[in-house]
Symmetry: C2
Subunit: 66 residues, 2 copies
DNA sequence: TCTTTATGTCAAGTAAGCTTTACTTAAAGA
DNA sequence: TCTTTAAGTAAAGCTTACTTGACATAAAGA
């Protein structure tokens, strides 16, 4: 699943570590999500959406499977 | 995390098993999510939103942790 | 050059999402 | 009463999300 975290971070001048702190996850988790290694949990997606003042759909892009 | 799956199902006259099929998960998964046993993954939340023609935020309600 | 900061990655472990199988209960119809 | 259907639940196992700790690299500044 694609996401706009890197850009949203850049717009706010946040490092991966700072974003991780704000979302109460590890830096490695942010890195892995940005790199597409895995998808965030739904609660984490909600947290990120709230933090950035956006909807989940604005941040994460679902690829339609079929 | 609260959700409106049961009501959305009822509005469309779907059983848990039918919804499970439509979302490609097991009936037990739907039951567990409806009963609040665990949260769906983000991909599953996207699927449900697409199926019902709603946003994730319309279906799942995040409780603000702090 | 030396140090610091940000990012990337890996390995091992825990926790949560999800599966299959199976049993139980309640409601409704024949 | 017997059967069927929907819902609830539980155990065991697999997969994925996430953790901590560690190491590597590149860029930038003193």
């Amino acid at each position: 699943m694609k996401n706009r975290l890197k850009v949203l971070r850049a717009e706010r001048d946040l490092t991966q570590a700072q974003l991780a702190d704000l979302l109460n996850v590890s830096r490695q988790t942010i890195n892995a999500i940005e790199k597409g290694k895995f998808d965030p949990s739904l609660p984490l997606a909600f947290k990120a959406a709230r933090l950035f003042g956006l909807s989940i759909e604005d941040i994460f892009e679902d690829e339609v499977v079929e």
